[in-house]
């Protein structure tokens, strides 16, 4: 993971976050499995991948002062299982930004690829910012 943060104001539709890579290590997956109390079967739970990607993405931009960011909705498609120990790469783009009164919504599209450049997951995340 790497991370120069950008200001929320800079996130306009079409903005592409720098691609980020993650190693889905045994310890990372074990922590996730313990946290959600699920079973391990040699593959990374798809939502573990999404969770890491969203957390890193949310940490890559700074929020306006006195705002709280809340996950409002999520779309996901799981295309391929990823073995534990794999490295994935995530590409994220700002699809939409909507402001309604004190509420602002940021809609991000994600595409996640494995080390063979095959898409393993895609999704759309809506983050609501409220004061």
């Amino acid at each position: 993971m790497q991370g120069n943060t950008v200001n929320y104001e800079e996130l306009v539709p079409g903005y592409k976050f720098p691609p980020t890579s993650y190693e889905l290590s045994t310890s990372l997956v074990a922590k996730y499995i313990q946290a959600v109390n699920s079973a391990a079967d040699g593959f990374v739970p798809p939502l573990a991948i999404t969770a890491c990607v969203i957390a890193a993405m949310a940490g890559s931009f700074s929020l306006p002062p006195n705002t709280v960011a809340i996950h409002a909705s999520q779309e996901l498609e799981f295309l391929k299982l990823v073995p534990i120990g794999s490295t994935i790469e995530c590409h994220t783009i700002v699809a939409q930004k909507v402001t309604r009164g004190k509420m602002s919504m940021l809609i991000l599209e994600l595409e996640i690829f494995d080390q063979d450049k095959e898409k393993v997951q895609s999704g759309k995340t809506t983050i609501a910012l409220t004061t």
Binding site: L28, K31, Y32, A35, S38, F43, L47, A72, Q74
Partner: protein, 140 residues
Amino acid sequence: MLTEIQEGKTLNPVVKYITQEKINLYAEASGDFNPIHVDESFAAKTPFGGTIAHGMLNLAYVSEMMTSAFGQNWLSGGKLRAKFKEAARPGDTVTINGKIDCMEQKDDVSYADCSFECRNQKGEVIVAGEAIVKLSSDKR
């Protein structure tokens, strides 16, 4: 896994008790330390009045139900759309229910179209959504 995949079939529910400890564990596992989830004094000053569980934690419980019903077909052929409608808080018991609304056939592949809801102990809907599972040929 479901022995019969057919329209109207109810999926086995998943019931979870939310604690701050579970939320903290999830924050560590995901790297999501948004203070609304983990900082009680910060969260107390927000409109939520206290910490709330990560939406993705609730979604993990939805995925547990879907995995239990559809196994690998869900994990590598599932699609979902979820709206986080209310917050789940420490002390809440959340129940995830789902059912197969219809079966579809497209280009010789079967799909199970499901709906799901996650409610708290007061009956309030926390997460609602739809999921589609692409079924492999042995499930047809």
